[in-house]
């Protein structure tokens, strides 16, 4: 099975499978720890900013992908400024809070922002790719069905819409409203 995150495109190419994926950096940052006060996830699609408080008290601030494809995982001052601006718009009392650290990762994006799961053109090579910017909330259950798929050598019915073939048949998935910059 190919399930190597930002390396999915390269790994699939080694098997001669061309994935409809482009890689973009995604950045996030955290503030110094604060006492617990934010008990929900706050997200603004228009500000491209989302906030959540971790169990260590840090405010985790994230947003949209970088505006063009790139394999570098350096975070940029532009994105930090943008996320800080969005955070202060949403929650003004964060203005004096310090940033503790920031980071970036490579996200493997598909044209419909949905993952590619299931069969590949090669027999016994399975795909779990294209999770892009929202994979860690969804992969635990997805991989339960991927494990079922491999054990049965048959794509689990719930995963069928995520086939790579959907691009060739124009059956794209409309998941973007549930993802993109909104969490």
């Amino acid at each position: 099975m190919i399930a190597v995150g930002g390396m999915n495109y390269d790994k699939a190419m080694k098997a001669g499978v061309e994935l409809p994926i482009r890689c973009y950096p995604l950045q996030a940052m955290v503030t110094q720890p604060l006492k617990p006060w934010l008990h929900t996830l706050v997200s603004s699609v228009s500000l491209h900013t989302n906030l959540v408080q971790s169990s260590r008290g840090e405010i985790v601030i994230g947003g949209g992908s970088d505006p063009y494809q790139l394999y570098s995982t350096r975070s940029t001052l532009d994105m930090k400024e943008h996320l800080a601006e969005g955070a202060v718009h949403l929650i003004p009392f964060l203005h004096g809070v310090r940033l503790l650290r920031q980071w970036a990762g490579t996200t493997d994006m598909t044209a419909d922002y949905s993952p590619i799961m299931g069969a590949s053109p090669l027999s016994n090579l399975w795909l779990d790719c294209g999770w892009g910017t929202w994979g860690f909330k969804a992969t635990p259950v997805a991989d339960k069905y991927m494990a079922q798929t491999i054990a049965n050598q048959k794509v689990a019915p719930i995963l069928e819409p995520f086939t790579m073939e959907r691009f060739a048949t124009f059956d794209l998935l409309n998941e973007m409203g549930a993802t993109a910059a909104s969490h």
């Binding site: 482009r22 063009y68 494809q69 394999y71 570098s72 532009d78 691009f167 060739a168």
Partner: protein, 87 residues
């Protein structure tokens, strides 16, 4: 902020620009199979080397091309689309 040199407007802040993705061949819709047409729409160069890609300077609505390294983010050159015919 990163600076991108627009062939028409000179060096400008990169947030004045919009990226339109890697340059693709223009297949003839009447002579292309559905499969190849889908590939044309949904596939783009995702290599780690030098990409040739479309950019737009938004305030002037000027489209041009850039050669950019997809790993180092170094912009090698930018040029007017008329130069494409000579490539």
């Amino acid at each position: 902020m990163k600076i991108l040199t627009c062939p028409m407007n000179g060096p400008r802040n990169i947030n004045e620009f919009q990226n339109f993705g890697p340059l693709k061949a223009n297949p003839d819709p009447d002579a292309t199979s559905d499969q190849d047409w889908a590939r044309h729409l949904f596939r783009a160069d995702n290599s780690r080397g030098t990409l040739v890609e479309w950019w737009r300077h938004v305030p002037s609505n000027y489209f041009f091309l850039a050669e950019r390294n997809a790993t180092t983010n170094e912009v090698i050159r930018t040029f007017d689309p008329s130069e494409l015919e000579q490539m």
